[in-house]
Amino acid sequence: MRKMLAAVSRVLAGAAQKPASRVLIASRNFANDATFDIKKCDLHRLEEGPPVTTVLTREDGLKYYRMMQTVRRMELKADQLYKQKIIRGFCHLCDGQEACCVGLEAGINPTDHLITAYRAHGFTFTRGLPVRAILAELTGRRGGCAKGKGGSMHMYAKNFYGGNGIVGAQVPLGAGIALACKYNGKDEVCLTLYGDGAANQGQIFEAYNMAALWKLPCIFICENNRYGMGTSVERAAASTDYYKRGDFIPGLRVDGMDILCVREATKFAAAYCRSGKGPILMELQTYRYHGHSMSDPGVSYRTREEIQEVRSKSDPIMLLKDRMVNSNLASVEELKEIDVEVRKEIEDAAQFATADPEPPLEELGYHIYSSDPPFEVRGANQWIKFKSVS
């Protein structure tokens, strides 16, 4: 019956202007789209900011919901796997910050570039990698996106440059990518992310200067989750107005828990850069529920009440869900169905990540250098030789 309706609606939809589902939906009484008010962004050296209202289509809403829920579930699964010691090493989770990764992706094209620091699992997903590749990389298996050799902090994808361990070091890299974008002339921009802790690193200011001097299409984004490891922003920064820290670079401060706000701000920033005006700075005010990493309980420098308060008032998934349900873009049951599907997908991915074999020992020496004839690398003792192939 459903298939028939779909076929009929496809015919009715004509020259595929509207996806068939939309026509089908009309018969189920949901709205196609809804207009929402979003918070006005604080501006620095800008006359106008992003719009204060935005239109969210049902399709987009469901897509964002699914993506945010996937990131959330994936992070919680990583938490679980870490506690079971299936994931070792370091693991920095971004639950609470889903609106940032999904919102940023919604505001740019897949051909744009993105680079961030180590809280990168969400971005790895939104930039196009499947959950199983991410979880397998966390567990260090060959199905992982870096073949199991990178781990949590070193995940890469097309137009996604990682995944970088050293705080602040990725920002000059981002400026360089932006230079390449300008040079190639394909109208691409580079999103260069860093945190509130990294914002005090000297090399960030060096990158600001270069980007502004050469008018590079670089969007500097400070993901301000209020704590740099265990140090709150007031105790680390002389000026916590991170969007103004670019000084001569215009900036905007965005509510990072509202995906629509992030999306509109990103579109605005990307348009600014694409028009050749040079770099722009965005501060996303967001929050992380977990501690800095899995070895940090997260409650020695902040109260549980604070975490609870953010969870109950500003949770990004909850905010989107409420908006969609209240304006009849989706039903609660439909969203619950998505939850169930996402859970299953994550379970399968976790299964894969646990069962996949580790990379073979011969590959331990690969990719140290790029060289035509493979050369030998000494292993843990001088009689073990690995071939380094690239």
């Binding site: 070792r88 090493g89 370091f90 781990g151 902090m153 070193h154 361990g165 050293i166 705080v167 602040g168 802790g197 990294a198 005090n200 690193q201 000297g202 090399q203 740099g228 490891m229 265990g230 140090t231 105790r235 680390a236 920064a237 020695s300 420098y301 020992l361 011969e362 000494r378 292993g379 843990a380 003792n381 001088q382 009689w383 073990i384 030789k385 690995f386």
Partner: protein, 387 residues
């Protein structure tokens, strides 16, 4: 650690009499004897779990009452003693106020106040530069870099500013009261950025001292020496030992001299040199060698990487005739290459020069305009510098 554990196991595998001799590679100054056999093909296939057993030294009663402490507690004790004795001493770094990520500064802020123990923002270059500034005015600066892997943004400050201050100002200024502490070495799950051993990078720079303890007792004494030493010092603390190493450590302050290596165990067949965590691996290796092969090993803990105690090591090698150096850092350019080439150079050339009645002249100096470097054998009484 896995490196040496497996290397040691490889070296010491016993074979039937009359087995082949093998070079043990560029790090050994002497041939390893024939009964030592390499691991073979299957070595590459087997995984070896990194492990070692911390071996505490016997309690030292010469410094007064002792208390059971692990490595981070002994560091806290040393810092406590410093802050108590020296009113100008300050401790700063990322997250040191609440006690530090490895709990090395627990309780110090409460005891000495927030203007003496304070957090810095996330800026290594700033931390060290700032520390140099404090030290230049004469106050004692104890800076913490959260992991040795993060010391590189501060590399310029250390090498170009701290190390050369006294020299370039003709002794008018110096930042000798600066000590930089950093957790060092592999810990098992640290991967690329929480496991590095960068001592070799700093060994290449005259003007600073680099010190690495092997145990809580050593750590407290060496750290107090570093703090009071009139040269900028970098003190690397093996992070895997923070909790694992427990010993009786004196409560009162005491100093262990810098640039003095310690012969932990006397022996006659081979000299084993190591520092930090590797010392414990080497101790196990030595006891395995004694037990299984009857090889008597002399173990030296280098303690100060630069300026290092050449005399102790050379004297030991003259006695045993063989040298094996083991460290966690990458092989090429690691500090073992410096030790082995110096020992061979001095050992061989000294011997030759003595016989030929010549003087061995070696001078190392680095300054902006002139580089004087001469290693020549020349007749006694005649000196010549090659510019």
């Amino acid at each position: 650690m896995a490196a040496v554990a497996s290397r040691a196991a490889g070296i010491l595998r016993l074979r039937a009499a009359g087995a082949e001799r093998r070079w043990c590679g560029p790090r050994c100054a002497g041939l390893v004897q024939g009964f030592l056999q390499p691991g073979g093909e299957d070595a590459a296939q087997k995984r070896r779990v990194a492990h070692f057993t911390f071996q505490p030294d016997p309690e030292s009663l010469q410094y007064g009452q002792t208390q059971k402490m692990n490595l981070f507690q002994s560091i806290t004790s040393a810092l406590d003693n410093s802050l108590a004795k020296d009113p100008t001493a300050v401790i700063f770094g990322e997250d040191v106020a609440f006690g530090g990520v490895f709990r090395c500064t627990v309780g110090l802020r409460d005891k000495y106040g927030k203007d003496r123990v304070f957090n810095t923002p996330l800026c290594e270059q700033g931390i060290v530069g700032f520390g140099i500034g404090i030290a230049v005015t004469g106050a004692t600066a104890i800076a913490e870099i959260q992991f040795a892997d993060y010391i590189f943004p501060a590399f310029d400050q250390i090498v170009n500013e701290a190390a050369k201050y006294r020299y370039r100002s003709g002794d008018l200024f110096n930042c000798g009261s600066l000590t930089i502490r950093a957790p060092w070495g592999c810990v098992g799950h640290g991967a690329l950025y929480h496991s590095q051993s960068p001592e070799a990078f700093f060994a290449h720079c005259p003007g600073i001292k680099v010190v690495i303890p092997r145990s809580p007792f050593q750590a407290k004494g060496l750290l107090l020496s570093c703090i009071e030493d009139k040269n900028p010092c970098i003190f690397f603390e093996p992070k895997i030992l923070y909790r694992a190493a427990v010993e009786q450590v004196p409560v009162e302050p005491y100093k262990i001299p810098l640039s003095q290596a310690e012969v932990i165990q006397e022996g006659s067949d081979v000299t084993l040199v190591a520092w930090g965590t590797q010392v414990h691996v080497i101790r196990e290796v030595a006891s395995m060698a004694q037990e299984k092969l009857g090889v008597s090993c002399e173990i030296i803990d280098l303690r100060t990487i630069v300026p290092w105690d050449m005399d102790t090591v050379c004297k030991s090698v003259v006695k045993t005739g063989r040298l094996l150096i083991s460290h966690e850092a990458p092989l090429t350019g690691g500090f073992a290459s410096e030790i082995s080439s110096t020992v061979q150079c001095k050992h061989v050339i000294d011997d030759f020069l003595e016989k030929a009645k010549l003087t061995f002249l070696s001078q190392e100096q680095c300054c902006l305009t002139t580089i004087k470097f001469a290693v020549v054998g020349i007749p006694n009484g005649v000196r010549k510098n090659v510019s």
